[in-house]
């Protein structure tokens, strides 16, 4: 048997890769392990602080001190997905492109779960306001005006957390490709810039949109055009961000890790 006796360019039937949901589910499970700890700790701290000062404040603790936590947590999970799990998935026969898609799906699932967590927190805060006569009001800029606008509250936080998750992938790319020092410096480009842009799109509601279409409403969900534009533009921006991650990560070599 010699090499020359084989047609080395023959293309045998390919191995069909499994459904993309399989690696996405695996990554989601890894994030959930940590998310359970994170939300548990948040609830305990929130409970303690609320008990101590809840009656004395006029603004929403949940809005101002808790709801941003899941955003940074999602960003950290996005970065960890690249630095820890990219080599693991590639070693199990996944392309980098499939990894980015699976990671984005997993972060979307995480963003959805954390948005529900935030929603439940707002609900609890409303209940406390009603029952105990507290007056913890919303003070920040949002696409919603009241905690009872469940769809809007969920949508805003979902879109926000997904943005942070995708930015996390980008930041993780910087760390994986360039190492700790340069990866940190690159955060200006890989994190600060896209987060700034995404936040402007989500809640600042461009004046031009507000003025041009303020009178129009989407009657079926009670949304203003500006709100829809804010959410839609942020989602579109996230799609662009996804393709940027996809294009960058497809080129990254999987390094040898020496333990």
């Amino acid at each position: 048997m010699t090499a020359a006796s084989y047609d080395l360019s023959a293309q045998p039937a390919a191995v069909q890769p499994n459904n993309l949901l399989a690696p996405a589910r695996w990554l989601t499970a890894r994030h959930l392990d940590k998310a359970l700890w994170f939300t548990g700790i948040v609830v305990v701290i929130f409970g303690v602080v609320l008990t101590a000062i809840g009656a004395d404040i006029s603004f929403s603790l949940w809005e101002n001190f808790v709801s941003s936590g899941p955003a940074w947590f999602t960003l950290a999970m996005g970065a960890t997905a690249v630095t820890s799990f990219l080599p693991v998935l590639v070693a199990q026969g996944q392309t980098r492109g499939r990894f980015v898609a699976a990671a984005a799906l997993a972060l979307a699932a995480l963003a959805a779960l954390l948005s529900i967590f935030v929603l439940v927190g707002y609900g609890a805060e409303s209940l406390l306001n009603e029952r105990l006569g507290w007056s913890m009001a919303l003070v920040g800029e949002h696409t919603f005006d009241s905690r009872s606008q469940i769809f809007l509250v969920f949508s805003e936080y979902f879109v926000r957390y997904l943005l942070f998750g995708l930015v996390g992938i980008l930041a993780g790319y910087g760390f994986y490709r360039a190492g700790g020092w340069w990866g940190t410096l690159l955060l200006l480009l890989t994190a600060a810039l896209p987060l700034g842009l995404g936040n402007i799109l989500l809640v600042q509601e461009f004046e031009i949109i507000r003025q041009g279409f303020a009178s129009m409403t989407f009657v079926w969900v009670g949304l203003t055009t500006a709100t829809v534009a804010g959410l839609g533009l942020t989602l579109a921006f996230e799609l662009v961000l996804f393709f940027v991650c996809y294009a960058l990560l497809r080129t990254v070599p999987i390094r040898t890790k020496l333990n």
């Binding site: 080395l8 045998p12 499994n18 690696p23 070693a91 026969g93 996944q94 499939r98 070599p253 333990n259």
Partner: protein, 324 residues
């Protein structure tokens, strides 16, 4: 037991994919100014076990990384199953590269196996369960808390149970103790006999693994030194044993790789094929001719690669001749 990995297991009746052939054409991989691989044109026969040998820094791991699409070639190309594997889902799904350090992240053994079972189309849970028990890999431990030997055993389990059409072990089993290594070789051969596939084994423990090799590929300083069948390679040398004086006289025209003496008896390893009449002469002189180990030849070839390549002739053209 690893019952949770069952869903993606293939049925024993499902035909497994054909073994992958591998071909590289003028493959170069550079790390800055360093040429890790330099114009490597290699051919890996499908459905056979190939030994990838080379000294430290010879480019073995880089070659395997390029074949597994872990990195893109600087120039030239890699073909796996006739297609370039880089970012090609249908090709890389059939490639399994196990590296020495393992690519397990901070996961438990169970989680790593769950991933393999869910994304490897050819995964066999039955094989994995049996090997986990045999190698005594603790399922609940985090891979970062495993000993080096346990990590190697986990890699061995994944490599064998993945049943990938192209499976590559890059010094994976260095951390194992000797009994576990021999158990690994035994399991690998048994599963390979049951389900033939293309296997590449990169190792420094040549004496231990050379009996597995059907083909051998040797890299030296990033260049392909030789590729041929293990039997042909073994015939490139011989070990002459007998009375010292007779041995010295017989080996005088040959390149002597090593000499070992015990009293008046000498064993000399020579490099160069022995013709039939030379064997008859040796027999007449009361000398025994034994086959030589691949390790001895490897040491000789890589100590000074000019022994192999005729002066003035590029390495690759010599290989092309041999493959014809």
């Amino acid at each position: 037991m690893m019952t949770s990995t069952a869903p993606a297991a293939i049925s024993p009746l499902t035909p497994l994919p054909a073994p992958y052939a591998v071909q590289t054409e003028d493959l170069r991989v550079n790390f800055g100014a360093t040429k890790a691989l330099d114009r490597v044109s290699a051919r890996i026969v499908p459905g056979a076990i190939t030994g990838l040998l080379g000294r430290n820094g010879s480019g073995k791991s880089t070659l395997l990384a390029a074949i597994a699409a872990y990195r893109r070639p600087s120039s030239g190309r890699v073909l796996v199953a006739g297609r370039e594997p880089y970012e090609e889902p249908a090709v890389v799904a059939g490639i399994c590269l196990l590296r020495e350090a393992g690519d397990f992240a901070d996961c438990s053994v169970r989680q790593v196996l769950q991933l393999a079972a869910s994304v490897r189309p050819t995964w066999s849970s039955t094989v994995a369960d049996r090997l986990l028990e045999r190698f005594k890999v603790p399922m609940r431990k985090k891979t970062t808390n495993l000993s080096r030997g346990q990590r190697s055993a986990l890699a061995a389990v994944i490599g064998i149970a993945s049943r990938s059409p192209l499976t590559m072990f890059d010094e994976t089993y260095l951390g194992m103790d000797a009994p576990t290594r021999y158990a690994f070789y035994e399991e690998l051969l048994a599963d390979y006999s049951e389900q033939p596939r293309t296997i590449i084994i990169s190792s420094h423990l040549i004496e231990e693994v050379e009996r597995l090799f059907e083909y051998v590929l040797v890299l030296d300083q990033g260049r392909l030194l030789l590729q041929e069948s293990a039997d042909d390679l073994r015939e490139r040398g011989a070990r002459v044993v007998g009375q010292s004086a007779a041995v010295e006289s017989f080996v005088a025209p040959y390149t002597v790789v090593s000499r070992q003496s015990l009293g008046r008896t000498m064993a000399a390893t020579i490099y160069g094929a022995l013709a039939t009449d030379a064997r008859a002469d040796a027999s007449a002189a009361g000398l025994d001719i034994e086959s030589v180990s691949i390790q001895d030849l490897f040491v000789h070839l890589t100590a000074d690669s000019s022994h192999y390549v005729p002066a003035g002739e590029p390495v690759d053209s010599q290989h092309a001749k041999e493959l014809r």
